[in-house]
Structure formats: structure tokens, C-alpha cells
């Protein structure tokens, strides 16, 4: 057989129906192995099922939780916001009616779907994973073909266990060399998006490979794949290696006993074969990546911490120049301003990009022995799941954050999208470890700067953006 890319292997394995004839552009029908469901994009899908008197084909493949719309403060009194409460209650009802496993509020396993899937071993190599959320690409870190879908597709997957999807082209992003100390997967993906743009990956499945990717932990790989969608790609992938297998062993939903060894044997084949061809290849030098900070309202508007906000007025691309001007006005910034001089009002450490245990460990290592700057009104740490929270508490990270002046919250999406009370007020400026800096994303009129957990922690301490690598140079001297 001719050499295949990882994407091609996964695609072929899941084909239920392939349109025949070259002229047919009917999308392929892929089988779905895992479906993650949450409160915001599912109610209309369940309603659709009921309306048509349909049932989920394999309810045991679905795992549900509430994450987007839940309070991160004390939950013992339930949810105060009536709309949020109704949505969460509706999810509970739907899961009960259709026999779906749900991690409810109060269950230690509750958390952001893209954190809990892998954490539970519910995301496995070689699977197709679907969720009504665009950051489902996160799960590609496990060599799973994972798609974000809309609500109609959520209903379609429940009813048929299949997803109709046109085949993507393949893009290899090869990252050579190694990332420097305190430079993380987040900085790398922001750097990549800065290079290829937010539509650079549109129509592609991106595979990340190369020495820098091999060195990343599973948490780092999830951060990387998480933001594939911010580069326009619905799918991000990393091949299976020993780290993937070690991460999964013993997790509740991972295969056991003889199934485990058979699974591992198969998973080890989930990589791109030597000589396989991609539609496009992009090379990135990891050594050149510095801590990154976004300055605008799109993740491609990003520069390194030691740079200035670029000037695009002389740019040949008038649409780009206009977008930059609009963004700067919204952000209350000017081209030529040094990134390190930008002062912040709030700090958010959380989201499906950066709320795993490794993220919290890194941020805590930066925070330890320091205090949150006087000018910072609020600094939040929102763990990605109840289990992440518990682990962090065992390690004493919560105490480090609290002592420094951070608030230590219950798990959920929180200020990543500000559907609950964790929001920016108009014109408030935030150093955020999340993935989107769109206008109003973290609260109407709010100004978001995307950074790594280490950089968010450094900004919290200094009250403005600060090169985290410098903090440690000073300590060492």
C-alpha cells in the first residue's frame, strides 16, 4: 500500500459511505465514535429528535456535561440566572430521557468538555470525536479525527451515528528545533497563526509534527490542536507516541486488559508514513518563538512580547489595514506602542486551551512568592475540570494563587466567553489564556489579549505585559 498520512488513515477507517463517481461531490459519511454534548448547542438537537420521534443510535457513545453557562463561584445554591438554569436543567432532562451519561454540576468529573474527554480516557487514538463546539479539534492531540459541528449536525450524529462531511486537504506544519524555557505550546500556536493567518488552514486538516511537537506533553499538544480552528482548520492532529499511550493508561474510559494491548498495537500505527504526501507543508523554527501577546481582535493580530504593535497603514492589503485600524480603535491602542507597556485590568487563567494541570503548575511557578499587582482589579484561575481542581489542591497550587491575590474558582468555561457572570466590563483589558480575542468575546466592550499561562501570571504580577523569561533570568543572576 502506498504511504498514507495520519489524516488519510483515520479518514479511511471511518468511511461508512463514499460517494461514487468523480463528478459526485456528495460529502462522505463518517462514523462517529465519541460525541461530547453540553448545554448550549444541544437543546434544539434533542428537541429535533423528540419532534421526529427519533432516538440516539448509540447513546453509550455520548458523554454530556454543563460547562459554558455555569457559575464558577459557590454552586451549593444552584444557578441564579434563570436562563442559564433553564438550559442546564434542560440538559439534565434530555440526558435522563435518552439514557446519556452526564457529569452534572457537583460531580468531580464535571468540567470543560475538551478537558474532560481526554481526562476520562473518553477520547482515544483512532476515534472520530464530535461536539457542537468548534474547539473539538483539541482532541486531535490524541490522533483522533475530531470535528466541531453545528446543532443540526449534533442532531444528525445522535440520530445516525454518522457525520456527512466533505473531505479536507492536508497541511503539515513541521516545527523543528525546541521551544525555549517558559515558551509554551500556546506561544507556538499564536506564532503559527500570526504567520499563516486565521484563514490559513481553512479547508485543511493540519498535522503538527517535528521535534518540538514530540517534546510537548499531551497537555501542550492539546493546547496546540485546540487553536487549529483559530487558524481556520476544523481538524488538528498529532501522531501517537509513547506519551499518548502513557497518558491514557488506566483512565476510566480507556480499554482494559487484553483490549488495552490490542488497542495499543493499533494505536502505534497512527502516524504519517514516511514518504506520504501532503497538499501543503509549512516549516516553523521553534527556536525563533518567543512569548506572544495578541494586540487586536483576531488571533492573527499577534506579536512577540519584545515587539511593538505593527503599523499596517502602508500595507498593500487594504482590507487588512482597515481591519487593523478597526481593531486598534476597539482595543484602545496605537501602532508603534510597545507591548510590554500595555497595562491590564484583569487576568483570566482558564479555558479549554489552558486550564489543565500543567498550565496551572506553570502559572503557579511564576506566581509563587509574588503578589498580584495593585492595578489589577481581578485575577481569576478557573480549572478546566473538577479533577484538575482537586489535583491542583493536592499540590497546593490553590494556596499559591490565593496567597498572591488570585480567585480560585469552580470549573467551567467562565470568562473565556463570559456567558456566566465572569465577564469584562466595557474597555476593561484582560490578559487571558483563552483562544479568542474577538470584540466582546469576554464581555461587551472588553479588550482581550491572548497569552500563555506563564505570561498571564507574569502580567498579573507586573500589572502590564512582561517577558516571563526575564523574570527567571533575574532570579538566576
Amino acid at each position: 500500500m502506498s504511504p498514507q498520512t495520519l489524516f488519510e488513515k483515520l479518514w479511511q477507517r471511518h468511511l461508512v459511505h463514499e460517494p461514487r463517481g468523480v463528478e459526485s461531490t456528495e460529502p462522505s459519511l463518517l462514523y462517529v465514535d465519541r460525541h461530547l454534548v453540553y448545554e448550549v448547542t444541544s437543546p434544539q438537537a434533542f428537541e429535533g429528535l423528540r419532534h421526529q420521534q427519533r432516538k440516539p443510535r448509540r447513546p453509550e457513545t455520548i458523554i454530556a456535561t454543563a460547562d459554558h453557562n455555569v457559575p464558577t463561584t459557590d454552586r451549593t445554591q444552584g444557578i441564579a440566572d434563570p436562563f442559564s438554569r433553564a438550559q442546564v436543567e434542560q440538559l439534565n432532562k434530555n440526558c435522563e430521557q435518552f439514557g446519556i451519561k452526564e457529569f452534572r454540576l457537583g460531580d468531580i468529573r464535571q468540567g470543560i468538555i475538551h478537558v474532560i474527554g481526554p481526562e476520562q480516557g473518553a477520547t482515544l487514538p483512532g476515534m472520530t470525536v464530535v461536539a457542537g463546539d468548534s474547539h473539538t479539534c483539541t482532541h486531535g492531540a490524541f490522533a483522533a479525527l475530531a470535528f466541531g459541528v453545528g446543532t443540526s449536525e449534533v442532531e444528525h450524529v445522535m440520530a445516525t451515528q454518522c457525520l456527512a462531511v466533505p473531505k479536507m486537504k492536508t497541511l503539515l506544519i513541521r516545527v523543528r528545533g525546541q521551544l525555549s524555557a517558559w515558551v509554551s505550546a500556546k506561544d507556538l500556536i499564536l506564532h503559527i497563526i500570526g504567520q499563516i493567518g486565521t484563514a490559513g488552514g481553512t479547508g485543511y486538516a493540519i498535522e503538527f509534527a517535528g521535534s518540538a511537537i514530540e517534546s510537548l506533553s499531551m497537555e501542550g499538544r492539546m493546547t496546540l490542536c485546540n487553536m487549529a480552528i483559530e487558524a481556520g482548520a476544523r481538524v488538528g492532529l498529532v501522531a501517537v507516541d509513547q506519551k499518548t499511550i502513557d497518558y491514557l493508561e488506566g483512565r476510566p474510559f480507556a480499554p482494559k486488559g487484553e483490549h488495552w494491548s490490542a488497542a495499543v498495537d493499533y494505536w502505534r500505527t497512527l502516524h504519517t508514513d514516511a514518504g506520504a504526501e501532503f497538499d501543503q507543508i509549512i516549516e516553523i523554527d521553534a527556536c525563533a518563538v518567543k512569548p506572544m501577546v495578541s494586540w487586536g481582535t483576531s488571533p492573527e493580530m499577534v506579536v512577540a512580547i519584545d515587539e511593538m504593535i505593527p503599523s499596517l497603514s502602508g500595507s498593500v492589503d487594504s482590507v487588512k489595514a482597515e481591519a487593523a485600524a478597526t481593531a486598534l480603535e476597539y482595543m484602545g491602542l496605537k501602532s508603534g506602542q510597545a507591548i510590554s507597556e500595555i497595562e491590564i485590568d484583569k487576568v483570566f487563567i482558564g479555558s479549554c486551551t489552558n486550564a489543565r494541570i500543567e498550565d496551572l503548575r506553570t502559572a503557579a511557578a511564576v506566581v509563587k512568592g509574588h503578589k498580584v499587582s495593585q492595578r489589577v482589579k481581578q485575577a481569576l484561575v478557573v480549572p478546566g475540570s473538577g479533577l484538575v481542581k482537586a489535583q491542583a489542591e493536592v499540590e497546593g497550587l490553590d494556596a499559591i494563587f490565593r496567597d498572591a491575590g488570585f480567585e480560585w474558582r469552580e470549573p467551567g468555561c467562565s470568562m473565556c466567553l463570559g456567558m456566566n457572570d465572569d465577564r469584562l466590563q466595557p474597555q476593561e483589558r484582560c490578559a487571558s489564556t483563552s483562544n479568542r480575542n474577538f470584540e466582546g468575546r469576554q464581555g461587551a466592550g472588553g479588550r482581550s489579549h491572548l497569552v500563555s499561562p506563564a505570561m498571564a501570571a507574569a502580567a498579573a504580577i507586573h500589572g502590564h505585559f512582561f517577558d516571563v523569561t526575564k523574570m527567571f533570568e533575574v532570579c538566576d543572576a
Binding site: V16, H17, P19, E23, S24, T25, E26, L29, Y31, D33, V40, T41, Q44, E47, Q52, R54, E60, D81, F83, Q87, Q90, G126, M127, G132, D133, S134, G148, V149, G150, T151, S152, E153, H156, A159, T160, Q161, A164, V165, P166, T198, A199, G232, R234, P255, H259, W260, A262, A263, Y266, T297, S298, V319, A323, T326, L417, M419, E439, G440, R441, A444
Partner: protein, 213 residues
């Protein structure tokens, strides 16, 4: 789903790129468990000067007179033209529901985000990708010519202008077929139940650990 054949209407321009789904429908409104009623919140943060919350009545709101959708000359427009990467960001289908509920049936832009593009076809909205220069021209005309209208015809894949000129657009034939006839995706897939069952059988042998629960 409502079939789509032809739309003739005024054109409303929103001259921006990277219009994301948060901009199309802000998060406070997607707390709803309904599928309808999102039109009044379309582009909420740009359309209104006050801060919107679910349940607020249109009459209570303060419209932004400078936003095109609020201008008298664009009222009733069913065709929206915008810049590239339209519909990026969150996968929320509420963005399409809001457009559709507002009355928008065609969106023309140089490019679309994939999930949004797929969502359009499930809700009877036609997304048309055209070369940037052509979009630029349409935006220019919509901004400068009062009452600028287009006739979008799906069967012939043509956008006809009142001066007789027409622009052709391409669309995937399968997507076209579905939209033209208003087919339901689930119904189509359910005709392949035997194939799905056979596939499951094969997969159970290959990867039994996926079928243990």
C-alpha cells in the same frame, strides 16, 4: 427546511472581514433553548448602543444609526454582503438562525469559515463565495447606489444586476440539490441504515474496545 430557489432583494453591506459568530449573535442570547426568535438580536453589539439582554423588547433598545442594518435604505434586505472569513469562530448555529430569522437568505463574501458554511445549508441560507474584487464592487454599489438590488438565482447559479449584467457563482452540486429541494440531512442518511449497520459490524471486529459499553 425551506427550499431555496430565487431571491430578489436589496443588498445590505457590512463592510468588515472576520465577522465572527459572537458578533452575529452575542453569547447572552444563546442561553435560549428555542430554535427561533434570534433575529432581533442579530449583530446586537453593532446594531444597538445599549447593552442587550435576553427578553428585551426591540422598542426598548437604542439602535445605532450608523450601522447599515438600521438604515432606512437597507430595510427588508434579504441579501447581505461582507468581507472575507465570514462566520468564523464559535460553531453556534444560532448565528445562522439569527440571520434567517432576521430575513437574510443570502450572504455574499470572499470566503466563509467552514462550520458556518455548513450550518447555512441546514437552514435554507445560501452562502456565496465570490472573488474579492467582485465582492468589493458589490459592497461599493450597495453603499453608494440607493436601493441597490440583486436577483440571486440558485438553479442557474447567477447573480443578476438591474443593469443586465450577471455574475456567476459556483456551488457544490450536492449542497445545491439539498438546498433547492429543502432536503433533510437526517432523512438522507437514514436511507443508508444497512450500510451503517454493516460498518459497525466490521468496526466491532477491528476495534472491539469501542463497543464494550
Amino acid at each position: 427546511m425551506r427550499p431555496f430557489k430565487q431571491v430578489e432583494s436589496r443588498v445590505v453591506p457590512v463592510d468588515r472581514s472576520n465577522i465572527d459568530t459572537d458578533a452575529l449573535i452575542p453569547k447572552q442570547y444563546i442561553k435560549s433553548i428555542e430554535r427561533t426568535g434570534f433575529g432581533k438580536y442579530l449583530f446586537d453589539e453593532w446594531r444597538f448602543l445599549d447593552k442587550g439582554e435576553p427578553g428585551m423588547l426591540l422598542e426598548q433598545r437604542i439602535p445605532n444609526p450608523e450601522f447599515t442594518l438600521n438604515m432606512e435604505r437597507y430595510q427588508g434586505a434579504e441579501i447581505l454582503v461582507a468581507q472575507d472569513n465570514f462566520g468564523c469562530g464559535s460553531s453556534r448555529e444560532h448565528a445562522v438562525w439569527a440571520l434567517e430569522d432576521f430575513g437574510i437568505r443570502v450572504v455574499i463574501a470572499p470566503s466563509f469559515a467552514e462550520i458556518f458554511y455548513a450550518n447555512c445549508f441546514k437552514n435554507g441560507v445560501l452562502p456565496i463565495a465570490l472573488e474579492p474584487e467582485k465582492v468589493e464592487r458589490l459592497i461599493h454599489s450597495a453603499l453608494s447606489v440607493d436601493g441597490f438590488s440583486l436577483l440571486v438565482d440558485l438553479p442557474s447559479q447567477l447573480i443578476n444586476m438591474s443593469d443586465g449584467e450577471s455574475l456567476s457563482f459556483s456551488i457544490d452540486p450536492y449542497y445545491k440539490l439539498r438546498l433547492e429541494n429543502g432536503y433533510d440531512d437526517i432523512d438522507i442518511t437514514l436511507t443508508k441504515l444497512d450500510q451503517i449497520a454493516r460498518y459497525e459490524q466490521k468496526r466491532r471486529e477491528q476495534e472491539p474496545w469501542l463497543f464494550t459499553v
